[in-house]
Symmetry: C2
Subunit: 358 residues, 2 copies
DNA sequence: ACGATTCATTGACACGTGTAACCCGTGACG
DNA sequence: CGTCACGGGTTACACGTGTCAATGAATCGT
């Protein structure tokens, strides 16, 4: 309705009233108003525009050297630091890459990978923001993320995004939405890291070595289904493997309990969620008097260094993750040319490594 | 110094010209202008102010229920998501907690702690931003951090902040600057987690058990000095302990090499940087034919579960970290009442745990 | 019937920044 | 001497939001 302001405008009184009048003047212990570029300008005796030009050393506009110095000195004296929010508001875009954190005690392998990714992104001048999504639905998470107007989102798949959610993010300015999970999301740049491969390699290796009654250790800890479910599925998919699901917690008690009833299970091999669970169980089985790999073959995953310290040395599935730099530069390209990178990219490879426990 | 605009102001022509005219009109594939609250207002047929009131469900201002519905529906239809930067620009403050990431492969114990801290902060409605500081000086890091106008900064001590840096951050609006490092910084709320304690407990334990020629394993990996240096210093500070520094990398080769020349070192005990290094070295020593703890006592740190899997079981220093929730609520209090929490708080406790390797 | 009070809504400003467009001397050149 | 170019700056606007003060309309009290 009344969308055109046809009311006569009063002269708009160009009162240069002092800023800093937050309506509570009296008992303020002067909360040290953070200096703005206007303060710098005032102190240097130039206009705010000049300050901006100097501090962003714009080549296009020519400012005399004396003025530059004055401005720099004023900025230094006031300890001026630009306001990132204001800057990106004006610019219309950010360099934020959103990296939803998993609340899971994700393994050392992935920790390292994520760390590396962060550093690589920093090096490309992105600002990495971790943002939890604990207990959020896809819709809620997408909205919360979109508020930050990130230029890219790298989701590890802890919250399942619908195509609609991806659209929300893109509408909010995200030039790349990347899923690292096992399954691609329509509209997103899916960089698939299919954990099923891991389980498949492990089971295939065991079958190859003549074991086919395979127990699969699934962590009881919350939040690990994201990794454990596909690994289990992968193991199940191997022809000739007869798998049985065995929940276990990451504690000595849980491992001992499982080992205690092992003989009644009728299994000749076990594939654990990862090396840590494998080591824990292997120790418990040995303490129970079982021979590894004679009575039972044990297979881990992730190829951690400590896996080689136990005797017998732990066989495992070695996972080749993309380097953080690789993924970061991929993100960078996607941001620059949104339409270029697309579709499914398979980035992970898994190889069984036989040591002594199989 | 013409700081007062005395030029007569033209009527300022209230032209309601269409926004979105970025000077490149012709070949635009319509980059989907992200919807603003103005768009919502237009669609709902109300003013922008009303939209703001409704969407922030302000209790103070009463808006009729029909209008609320109209606005909500319009927002839904457009997929409107508020712009966090604009919001906090207007608000004058953020809820960002800056958590400089270490580029170090920090141990599982600290990973878990940091994860927990993040989640706890999220639960208190803070936005956690990881921000690397690789190769930055204290000055540079402080400036970079200040740009985000965080309400709190939790530094792990990877970059050493001067009092001046802390002042910069506070001037930029940080209500709490918290250092987790071994040493307090003037002006900051120092929550000291002194790693020296760890080394001291370990060495004291070894001395107690009659060993005083102690090798101290220091990782060759970059970035761990932050933890390893104070642990070493702590060990050295124990009366009666004669320590010797032994650099070692986290690889089997490095451990084997060190074990190979062990007998020539004339040591009867070793305190490793953490359990992982301890396990690695212990295995190498055993492979070299040395008896643990007969020939050499081995002590780790962090009390990882896997440390109990080797034989002999690894003695270690158990570290009691504050819970993430605890630290988070402490941050929260500091933000609400900046002057309340202050000074040094010692948050860490360390206890030697004897198992079988000492 | 008319001022007083409540209700629902809106106009206008401020937050801090970047940048396009403009302005004003001054020396060069025709 | 006019004008042209150009160096050195400044003015003005836009980005998207929250919120105070003001405005009409409707209801109430007497």
């Amino acid at each position: 309705m009344s969308h055109s302001s046809n009311a006569p405008i009063p002269p708009s009184s160009p009162k240069p009233r002092s800023r800093r009048t937050p309506a509570t003047p009296p008992p303020e212990p002067a909360p040290a108003p953070v200096p703005t570029s206007a303060d710098v300008a005032r102190l240097a005796g130039v206009s705010r525009a000049t300050v901006s030009y100097v501090l962003n050393n714009a080549e296009a506009v020519r400012i005399s050297e004396p003025t530059r110095r004055k401005v720099r000195e004023a900025a230094e004296e006031l300890g001026y630091v630009p306001h990132a929010a204001a800057r990106s508001l004006r610019a219309g875009h950010t360099r934020i890459v959103l990296l939803p954190t998993s609340h899971v005690p994700v393994g050392p392998l992935y920790s390292a990978f994520l760390n590396e990714l962060q550093w690589a992104l920093r090096r490309l001048d992105y600002t990495v923001v971790q943002y939890g999504s604990l207990g959020l639905t896809g819709d809620e998470a997408a909205r919360a993320w979109a508020e930050l107007r990130p230029v890219a989102v790298i989701s590890l798949g802890e919250v399942s995004l619908s195509a609609h959610n991806v659209a929300t993010l893109k509408r909010a300015g995200a030039r790349a939405v990347i899923t690292l999970g096992p399954v691609g999301v329509p509209g997103a740049h899916a960089l698939v890291m299919d954990q099923a491969e891991v389980g498949a390699r492990a089971a295939a290796h065991l079958v190859e070595r003549g074991r086919n009654r395979i127990g699969v250790i699934v962590p009881e800890e919350d939040g690990l289904e994201l990794f454990s479910a596909p690994r289990l599925a992968g193991a199940r998919s191997v022809p000739g493997a007869r798998t049985q699901v065995l929940p276990m917690a990451y504690t000595e008690e849980s491992a001992a309990e499982l080992a205690g009833r092992w003989r009644s299970l009728g299994l000749d091999a076990v594939f654990a969620y990862n090396d840590e669970y494998a080591m824990l169980l292997m120790r418990a089985l040995q303490d129970e008097g079982l021979d590894v790999p004679g009575d039972v073959a044990v297979m881990g995953a992730d190829d951690l260094l400590i896996g080689r310290l136990l005797r017998p040395r732990l066989s495992t599935v070695q996972i080749e993750l993309p380097t953080g730099d690789h993924l970061a530069s991929l993100v960078d390209r996607a941001v620059r040319e949104p339409s270029e990178i697309t579709g499914r990219h398979d980035l992970m490879s898994a190889t069984a490594v036989r040591r002594e426990s199989t």
